[in-house]
Amino acid sequence: MSLSSTKNNFKLALVVDDSPMQCRVLGVLLKEEGYRVFTANDGERGVAMYIKYKPDLVLMDINMPVMDGYEATRKIKSFSRTSLCPLIFITSMDSDQAFIESIDAGGDGILVRPFSPEVFKAKIKSIQRISDLYGQVKRLQQEQQQDAELAEQLMSGVIESRNYALDRIGIVKKAAALFSGDIQLTALGPNGDVNILLGDFTGHGLRSSIGAIPLAETFRAMTKKGFSLFEIITQVNRQLHNLLPPDLFLGAAFVTISSHDASANIFNAGLPDCYIYDQFGEIKHRILSSHPPMGVLPNLLDNSKPSVVVVGESDRIILISDGIVEARNDVGEMFEFERFEKATKQGVLAGNVSKSVLDAVNDFCQHMPQEDDISLIDIPCSGWQQTFTVSNVTKDTLINSRKQVTNAESPAWTWNLKLTGKRLALINPIPMAMNQIQDIEGNAEHWQSLFTILTELFVNSLDHGVLDLNSDLKDSPEGFVEYFSERDKRLQLLDSEFVDIQLDYFPFDLGGKLLVKISDSGEGFDYRKKQLARQTESHENMQLSGRGIELVKQLCQSIDYYDGGRAVEAAYVWSS
C-alpha cells in the first residue's frame, strides 16, 4: 500500500492568496510538477478548503482579507497534527520578523518573492521529500504499535490469563513500555503443589517478548506433568540459551509452594532478594540471587539448586523485579529496598501488600515517567492443601463392578523402570510413568491422585529405603533444612543402589485398577511397628512428615508392604 494520499495518482495542492493573478501563476507551476490545484482567496476559505480536500501541500500568502495567513496556518496545523501536510508561506515581506512569525505559526518554510520558477520548483521538491520521509516514519511507527498491541494481547490473553489461583496470589504488573519485559506465571502441579515464576527479560518492548511464549509453555507443561522445580529450571535455562541471542536473558525467581510439606522451594537467578515475611511484617528469610540469569549459560552451574525453606501458615513469600527498587522521583533518588520493605510491612499488617507497595511507589515517584517495569508477586503460604476425598458411594460401585469382571487376572499392560546408581540420583521417573499412562489410556482427572501415590511411594523408597534418611529430622524447621542437605550428599554417593517401579494396568467395565509396585535396595523397615505408632498419634497433631503415606492410604484401595519393608504394593481403583 502506498503511504501518501496519492488520490488518483495526483497530489493535491491548495493555494491561498487574495490575488487571483498570483493563484494562477503558482497554479501553473504546480501543475507542471504534477499537482492538482485548488485555490482560495482569503484565509477563512483556505481553512474550509483544507478541511474539504485534505491536500498534500499548502501555499499561503500572509496579508489577506477576512483572515490572514498566520491565523489560517494555525487553524490548519491544529487539524493536521497527526499528518504532515507541508505548508509554505509565499510573501514579498522580506523581513526577519515575517520569517520568524511564519515558522511560529506552524509554517514549514518561507519563499520570498521574487523567485524564478526553478527555485520555486526546487523548494516544492525539497519540502515534499521531507513530507514523504515523515509519512514513512509515521507508518513504521504505526506498524510497530500494532505489533506491540498484538504481543500485548498474546501476553495477557494467552499467557497470563491461564495463570492459576489469581484470586489468592497477589500480582502487580505495571509495564514501562506498552509491552512489558516482565512475566508472571503460576501453575498447579498434579500433587497440589503450586509453581510460581517472576521473570524479567532484558530490555522492554517487543524485543523482550520473544522468549515469553516458549517460557510459559515449558513452565506450564512441566509443572502439569509433575517435574520438580529444579528440572523445570534446568530446562528453562537450556531452552532460553538455545533460543535467545546472547544479550537477551531472563532474570527469574522460581517458587514451589508445597501443599502438604509446609515448605517452599525458592530459586533466585538474577532478581533482587526474594522475601519471606511473617504475619507481623517481619522479614524471616531473604533468598539472594545465586545464579546468573536464565539463558546466559548453556547449563546451570554445578551445585545450583533451589533453597528449601520452612514456612509457617501465615507467612507470605514476596517476589519483586528491579523496577520497584529502581523507580526514581523528580530529584533522581531511587525508591530503594528500605522504602520497599517498609511498605511491604505495612501491607502485610493491613492485609494488602500489592496495594500498599504500589501506593508507596506512586507517592514517591509522583508524576515521573516510569523507566522500568514494576512487578510484584505476593504468595500466601497457607491454603494450598488439596483435599482428596473418595466418596463411599464410588467405592461401593467400584467393588461391585470389579466382582462382575472375573477374567481380569492378567494386566492389559505392564510398565517397568529400574533406576540404578547415578541415574537414580539424576532421573525423576514419575513424569515418565505418568506419560506412559496418559499415552496409553488418555488424559483423565483422576490421574492426579495416581501422581500423588507414585510420588509419595517413590520418595519414600528413595529417601528412607535407599538413602536411609530418618524422617523424624523433618519434625523441626532446622532439621528440615538439614534433611535436604544430607539427602543431596547421600545422592552423590549412589553406586549400585536401585529403585524398581512397576505398573500393572487392569481395565474394568466401569473404570479400572492400577497396581503400583515399588521395591528398593535399602534395609527395609518394620512397617508393623510404624503402623502401630501412627495409629496412636493424635489426628490433630499436624506433623511436618509422615503425612504423605497417610494421603496414599486415603487414595488407595489397599497398600501392602512385604520383603521386610523393601517392597510396597498399592492398588489404585477408579470408576469412569
Partner: protein
C-alpha cells in the same frame, strides 16, 4: 564522549571506559568500540569507574563483549564498578562468569 576505547601499550589488550549512563542507547557505540579488535588472546578491560547507572541491557552488552573475547580465546575483566553497579552485577551473579576487580 561516553565511551572511550584505548589500546593498551604493546597491543596487550583493549580498555573500554564508560562514563555516566551505560544503557541501551550505547548499544551500537559499544559494539563498534571492540569489534575491530581481533588479536588472539586479547585481554579486554571494561572500566566502569566512571559509570553511574547501568540497566539490564548493559548486562546483555557485557555478555556480547565476553562472547567476542571468548572467540579470540581472550579474557574479559570488569574493573572498578561503584557500589550501586556492583550490586547489579552481583544480582546477576556476573562474578561467576568473569573476574570483577573492585
Amino acid at each position: 564522549m561516553t565511551i572511550q576505547a584505548i589500546t593498551l601499550a604493546d597491543n596487550k589488550g583493549l580498555k573500554i571506559s564508560i562514563s555516566e549512563r551505560f544503557d541501551f542507547s550505547l548499544h551500537q557505540q559499544f559494539r563498534d568500540s571492540y569489534l575491530n579488535y581481533n588479536d588472539k588472546g586479547a585481554e579486554f578491560t571494561l572500566d566502569l569507574s566512571n559509570t553511574t547507572y547501568m540497566d539490564s541491557s548493559a548486562l546483555g552488552m557485557i555478555l556480547l563483549l565476553k562472547d567476542h573475547a571468548d572467540k579470540l580465546s581472550g579474557k574479559l575483566v570488569i574493573s572498578k564498578p561503584n557500589d550501586a553497579i556492583n550490586k547489579i552485577l552481583e544480582i546477576a551473579q556476573f562474578h561467576r562468569l568473569m573476574p570483577i576487580e573492585v
